[in-house]
């Protein structure tokens, strides 16, 4: 009897050691993955990026722990519990374990409660989205009083099939979005046709632009550089060409740009989709049906399609 207990204890002891080693290894790998996860994301160029990346790293860590925990157990089973050839006997007939089942209901519940509390707090810290006001489509876009504090704006972000146009408070039209670094800029997001999405991966921010509504939006760039602005909501034939650059500059250069650009004569802005459509017409208009691209916007600052972007 005594020896049996001792043997049982010994077995328990060794399995406890194995479990501890496995858990420690898992924790180490999970933390490493969380640490690496920062490198999977673009440059952090806005105040939101920091929060989003931290949340993502947190989720990567927990996710890796759960993934390796589950698949590690599966691997263990596959190595040590394989039935020998021609052995068709039954395994240990465990029907369930109420305690265990309650634990694995409660623990994930607490975990998701924790994660959602964390992300709710991030949501409240960011507060990029202002208000969404419906208006009579086709009529003039109404002015929206923005309650939140911002340093610069409102810049009208006008999206079309398929080009972008930015209108500054002093009347500058531009094909690229120039923003002052470390200042909270405010936008009115407007579309003239279908749903588009204002998405700057380096800012970790995305906001759909809904026809018939004007949406106010604020963000603070925190890094100087050239970042890609991509339409992220499918908007028709040349959707993938509907991109432009966001140029974040120091306050000084930004205001100099504002002052100088206002003197420039309006000319045709960036419209790669329009060029592609012209090429298609030249080649015999083959392919399936599409609406005609919007005409080139008339802008003071054309910018450059060839500009290299940081992310």
């Amino acid at each position: 009897m005594n020896t049996k207990i001792r043997r049982l204890k010994k077995k328990n002891f060794s399995s406890i050691i194995i479990i501890i080693i496995a858990v420690v290894l898992n924790v180490v790998v999970s933390l490493l993955m969380g640490y690496w996860s920062y490198s999977w994301l673009p440059i952090q160029a806005s105040e939101a990026a920091h929060y989003v990346d931290n949340l993502f790293a947190f989720e990567t860590t927990i996710g890796t722990f759960i993934f390796l925990g589950c698949t590690g157990t599966m691997a263990w089973i596959l190595v040590f519990n394989r039935a020998p050839k021609y052995d068709e006997s039954n395994g240990e007939p465990l029907e369930g374990n109420l305690k265990l089942e309650i634990i694995w209901t409660i623990v994930p519940l607490i975990l998701v409660l924790g994660i959602s509390t964390y992300s709710t707090s991030v949501n409240y810290k960011l507060e990029n989205l202002g208000s969404k006001i419906k208006y009579d489509f086709g009529a003039e876009v109404p002015f929206v009083e923005e309650k939140k504090v911002f340093d610069y704006g409102p810049i009208d972000v006008i999206s079309r099939q398929w080009n972008w146009e930015f209108v500054y408070p002093n009347g500058i039209h531009s094909s690229e979005l120039h923003l002052p670094v470390d200042k909270r800029s405010n936008f009115r997001l407007i579309t003239e046709d279908v749903i588009h999405s204002f998405y700057v991966p380096a800012f970790r921010l995305k906001q759909d632009i809904i026809p018939g509504s004007v949406i106010t939006y604020s963000l603070t760039p925190t890094k100087e550089g050239v970042f890609r602005l991509r339409d992220a909501m499918f908007s028709g034939a040349y959707f993938s060409e509907n991109q432009t650059n966001v140029i974040v500059e120091s306050e000084e250069i930004f205001y100099k740009w504002i002052k100088e650009t206002v003197k420039k004569e309006p000319q045709n802005g960036l419209n790669p989709a329009g060029r592609l459509y012209e090429k298609r017409l030249r080649n015999g208009n083959r392919g399936w049906a599409t609406v005609k691209p919007a005409p080139d916007p008339k802008v003071n600052e054309v910018g450059s399609e060839a500009r290299l972007h940081d992310s």
Binding site: G96, V112, R228, A232
Partner: protein, 563 residues
């Protein structure tokens, strides 16, 4: 145990379908036998898997290089729209209906479905709407090309102004598919509620039946909302109404609510039966009872109820107010709880078992492995700040392919292999099955794992061209896609050759417990006919000294045709 001894030569069935000749022609007729309909569904769906897969490979061919050089972007848009539509409405839904048709009546001991004629009607709608959908390739202007979401205003732009256009045919096809699914759902639910074998209370049903019930109830609750939305979209497109048309005061976001109210639960309609398949197969191939049967059974309904209140997580960045985003983030995350219960129960079922790595088990294990991964990225997508960054990027594409192909299709392949001997009466070739698994697993992983990084770096989905920094991930993905294409060869070879000239299958080749395994292979026309067993316990009592049905020996002998 002696009762499992069999001599395969003894069990050749003479005529497995007493009421109809055992010939191939019945598969091309308006046959009302659920087993024939099941096979009709599965074969049709597998045909469309090939077509959808071909479109998928064309997409990956375009995306292997950054510029849009293989097709015109309009063609690319049509191709990816049709790829999604065909895979969902012509492959996944029909194939799951097929498996459900095959399995539900034998598993609950019913002779057939409750409404056999409606059942046949539901199937024959599939070829009808498939033809309508495929015809849209040939109408002027090309097929629908606004994605399978068909969001207005892009879907109602109708550039050529023609009345019959791809989008219109698309809506008609989807509505017919909805009608077919509703007929099927009414049929399945009625059958499960009314036609179970004596003694089979709800807590003695196989888990597959639980999940089918949960999934089909979800279908009944959710699908009409999409049908309503589709009717309004059709009116906007064809008759110029303005439910969603902004110029007339409509609201395009309203459609998104209708769409996702059904289309998010639709994923659970597809994944729940696959959870059922996992729950059936793990006990068989690890020779152990299903761990926590009641928890696993009830968790299906937890998923059903929760999945009806999560749809706004597809709309976190459409201007949804903060409180709504937080609320739906929370409900979405709650789904992880019942899902987690199932995953842990499966792993506990494997624990300490006697694992047999046959082809169905390999697909199950691969599917579970991928599902854990896809589930974790799903929780990441549920959190608002992360979703605002990666939503509508390739991260989402990778995530949902991990669920929809790497989990659901893996489960479907597992089910096809597992029940192939039962319903065709032939054994498949294990070696070819393993080759199929290896190629599918490698191809699927290579196809969708790298795309997560493309999405994290900010590559939007549905693009025909992209910035060169995403090239590496796309090249890997394209190679994976082509490997997946190759993987279909051993599968087709295996299925066709084993059905034509495979070894005859015994009634219970896997030594599984379950009413369907007490029938001969293939089962006779009305399954148990006038002698339906009385069920005593749930079908997972491996190694437990619990009888499954009254007088089990009699049914085993009967299935072996010794009586």
């Amino acid at each position: 145990m002696t009762i499992f001894n069999y001599d395969p030569r003894l069990v050749k069935t003479k005529n497995s379908y007493p009421k109809g000749p055992n010939d191939w022609k019945r598969f091309f007729s308006f046959n009302t036998d659920a087993k024939v309909i099941g096979i009709q569904y599965i074969v049709t769906a597998l045909f469309f898997l090939l077509i959808g897969g071909l479109l998928g490979m064309l997409i990956r061919g375009e995306l292997i290089t950054p510029p849009s050089d293989l097709f015109d972007p309009t063609v690319y848009n049509g191709l990816y729209t049709m790829h999604g539509t065909i895979m969902l409405f012509l492959f996944l839904f029909p194939i799951l209906s097929g498996l459900t048709n095959l399995l539900v009546p034998p598993m609950i001991g019913a002779p057939d479905m409750a409404f056999p004629k409606l059942n046949a009607l539901a199937f024959w709608l599939v070829p009808i709407f498939s033809i309508i959908l495929l015809l849209s390739f040939f109408v002027p202007g090309g097929p629908a090309s606004s994605g399978w979401w068909s969001y207005p205003p892009i879907s109602i732009q109708n550039p050529l102004g023609k009345i019959i256009n791809g989008e219109m045919l698309w809506i008609i096809a989807i509505s017919l598919s909805g009608i077919s699914s509703i007929i099927g759902a009414v049929n399945f639910v009625t059958t499960i509620i009314r036609m179970r074998a004596p003694g089979m209370g709800f807590f003695k049903m196989p888990i597959f039946i639980w999940t089918v019930l949960a999934a089909q109830l979800l279908q009944l609750l959710g699908l009409p909302a999409l049908t309503g939305g589709a009717i309004m979209l059709f009116f906007d497109l064809t008759f110029g109404t303005s439910f969603f048309r902004v110029e007339g005061g409509g609201d395009p976001v309203l459609f998104q609510h209708f769409f996702w109210f059904y289309s998010h639960p639709a994923v659970y309609v597809m994944v729940l039966p696959v959870f059922g398949i996992f729950s059936e197969l793990f006990p068989v191939y690890s020779r152990k009872p299903l761990f926590g049967y009641k928890f696993v059974a009830v968790a299906s309904f937890g998923i059903t109820i929760l999945s009806l209140v999560v749809w706004v997580h597809h709309m976190f960045y459409t201007g949804t107010p903060m409180w709504m985003r937080n609320l739906f983030m929370f409900t979405t995350m709650l789904i992880a709880v019942p899902t987690g219960v199932k995953v842990f129960a499966w792993i506990a079922t494997l624990w300490g078992g006697n694992i047999r790595l046959s082809t169905p088990m390999l697909f199950c294990l691969g599917g579970l492995f991928n599902f854990i991964f896809g589930g974790i990225t799903g929780v990441m997508l549920a959190t608002v700040p992360v979703d605002i960054h990666v939503g509508n990027t390739y991260f989402v594409v990778a995530h949902f392919h991990y669920i929809i192909f790497n989990t659901i299709a893996f489960g479907i392949f597992a089910a096809i292999y597992h029940w192939f001997p039962k319903f065709t009466g032939k054994m498949f070739y294990e070696g070819l099955g393993k080759v199929h698994f290896a190629l599918t697993f490698i191809g699927a992983t290579l196809n969708w794992l790298p795309l997560h990084w493309a999405g994290l770096l900010g590559m939007p989905r549905r693009v025909a061209s992209y910035d060169p920094e995403f090239a590496i991930w796309n090249v890997l993905a394209s190679i994976g896609a082509f490997i997946l294409g190759v993987a279909s060869i051993p599968f087709i070879l295996n299925m066709v050759s084993s059905w034509v000239r495979g070894k005859s299958a015994p009634p219970n080749p896997w030594k599984a417990i379950g009413l369907e395994w007490l029938l001969p292979s293939p089962p006779p026309h009305e399954n148990f006919e006038e002698d339906i067993p009385t069920v005593l316990n749930e079908p997972y009592c491996y190694g437990l000294d619990k009888p499954f049905v009254e007088d089990e020996q009699f049914y085993i002998e009967k299935s072996l045709k010794k009586i």
